[in-house]
């Protein structure tokens, strides 16, 4: 899922400085799971903003809403009526959700309240880690189900860089070396022979992040 962290409140207050009545919108999906933009965070941030503004004698009215998934038009559109009543929107969904609102509500300023960080999984309560960079051509079959694109700092496709120490990455000491994990996993599966194959360079500019805007069109689903 998408992982995010709330922006510093001073940065948010700066965005909101010209406005006296806003809508604070969270999202019931990914950012709820990582405690950055769910209903609870909407409530906490709204009261934080009210207090901060009251302190400087510039009261702000904050309406609160948390659609189930802000990145889906049908849920985003639920905000239509409320948006009519405010001067600006602060969205603490991921960057995708912010832009869904932007697309549907072109006339009102919409600000991000979180930094969208990565696609990751929950390791333990309060700890999330990156697992996928949406590279567009998944190679997990070749690497024992461990992703070297997101988990190896150098995105190596053909074995470790030689710098890992005691199984940890030379670039991020707290992270496991992806190639150590790949090796261990392939060994457990009796598939070490997979490492003899040379994995060709990724086609970043064709199937991935550098090919311009990525889009999926499913003719069978279009209406």
């Amino acid at each position: 899922m998408i992982k995010a962290e709330q922006k510093p409140i001073d940065e948010i207050l700066k965005y909101l400085n010209p406005y006296n009545k806003i809508l604070l919108s969270g999202c019931g999906a990914c950012v709820t799971v990582c405690h950055a933009g769910g209903e609870k965070e909407v409530e906490l941030l709204a009261s934080g903003l009210r207090m901060a503004r009251q302190k400087i004698g510039k009261k702000i009215e904050v309406l609160e809403v948390t659609p189930a998934r802000q990145c889906e038009p049908e849920f985003a559109l639920e905000l239509s009526e409320t948006i009519e009543k405010v001067e600006a929107v602060l969205s603490i969904s991921c960057g995708v959700g912010v832009q869904t609102l932007v697309r549907h509500f072109p006339k009102i300023p919409i600000f991000p309240g979180v930094n969208t960080s990565f696609l990751g999984e929950t390791i333990t309560h309060g700890v999330w880690e990156e697992r996928c960079q949406a590279c567009g051509n998944c190679i997990l079959e070749k690497t024992g189900g461990i992703c070297p694109i997101s988990r190896c700092a150098k995105q190596l496709l053909n074995g470790p860089c030689g710098g890992s120490s005691k199984g940890k990455c030379e670039i991020k000491k707290e992270a496991d070396c992806a190639w150590q994990l790949i090796y261990d996993r392939l060994k457990t599966l009796n598939q070490l022979y997979k490492l003899e194959e040379i994995i060709p360079a990724k086609r970043w500019g064709v199937e991935s992040r550098d090919s311009g805007l990525r889009r999926i069109v499913r003719e069978d689903l279009k209406v």
Binding site: K187, I198, I199, A201
Partner: protein, 290 residues
């Protein structure tokens, strides 16, 4: 004799690494080069090593070659995409540089421009494949080249790996040889017993291996290396020697000389890494009769 011919002849080669300056003043580097002329078989010039921004390997190699030195040009995957990598290899070839050391490269986050974006468009296996492809007269997209560059291609190996990392390293070496590697440079090794198991396992590849020896300057440096450099393990006997030394440079030479003698029967050359003690190399070579 070119570096490649020397390797093919089975000669024990001596390489020195000289770091390009941070800036465009080459006077010091030229001074070192003069001292090394006729004493070493090639000078290896790193490119953005440790992700520290410096003058590049390409210009330094070109200038040293013009002064009659055999040089090894370095190119890595960390800062250039596949267009730039291919173009740089063609640049090198057009400038008459034949020996290339192709590397994975260091991540910018460990260097002095840690805010930079890492590139790693290709990994080193991809880069080696690229050099092979260019030598066949094509670029990576299969387009014909006007003229075929010819290289003597080197790659890096971790020759002190142990346990399963050693098995991985051997697999890696085999893949690199399949992709056209002509010689290998090892990481810096300070203990010949750590190199022996590796050498036994790879002897059948019959590809020249050149062992790196870094001049140890102090006990502090040795301890730092032991703590922070993966695979490096400086034995206590060497640390003792450094500790008791009244003339540090002399003892450093003795240590390096001892290592050269110990490695000589096991490999096809050494790469001396002086980091600041370049002027010591001629004396060191005298001491070991090279």
């Amino acid at each position: 004799m070119s570096f490649k011919e020397q390797l093919e002849s089975g000669k024990f080669v001596v390489v020195a690494e000289l770091q390009p300056p941070k800036g465009n003043d080459l006077s010091e580097l030229y001074e070192y080069t003069e001292l090394l002329k006729g004493r070493v078989d090639a000078i290896n010039i790193p490119d953005l090593q440790n992700a520290i921004m410096r003058l590049g390997s390409l210009s330094v190699c070109t200038l040293l070659k013009a002064r009659g030195m055999e040089v090894i040009y370095n190119l890595s995957c960390s800062d250039r995409n596949r267009l730039a990598l291919q173009s740089e290899l063609l640049n090198a070839s057009a400038l008459g540089l034949k020996n290339v050391l192709l590397l994975q490269g260091d991540h910018p986050s460990i260097g002095d421009h840690f805010e930079a974006q890492a590139v790693f468009d290709l990994d080193v296996m991809g880069l080696l494949g690229t050099a092979k492809r260019l030598q066949e007269g094509y670029d990576l997209m299969g387009n014909d080249l006007q003229g075929k560059p010819q290289f003597c291609v080197g790659a890096q190996i971790n020759a002190t790996a142990k346990g399963h990392v050693l098995d991985l390293e051997i697999m890696d070496m085999e893949k690199k040889i399949r992709t056209g590697v002509d010689f290998f440079f090892t990481n810096s090794i300070y203990d010949v017993s750590l190199f022996e198991p590796f050498v036994k396992k790879v002897a059948h590849f019959k590809v020249p291996i050149i062992v790196a020896i870094t001049l140890l300057k102090s006990v502090g440096m040795a301890r730092y290396v032991n703590k922070h450099v993966e695979g490096a393990s400086i034995p206590d006997s060497i640390i003792d020697q450094l500790m008791k030394a009244s003339d540090k440079q002399k003892v450093s030479n003795e240590i390096a000389g001892g290592l050269i003698k110990a490695f000589k029967p096991l490999c096809q050359g050494v790469q001396l890494i002086p980091i600041g003690w370049e002027k010591q190399i001629p004396t060191l070579l005298d001491d070991v009769g090279l």
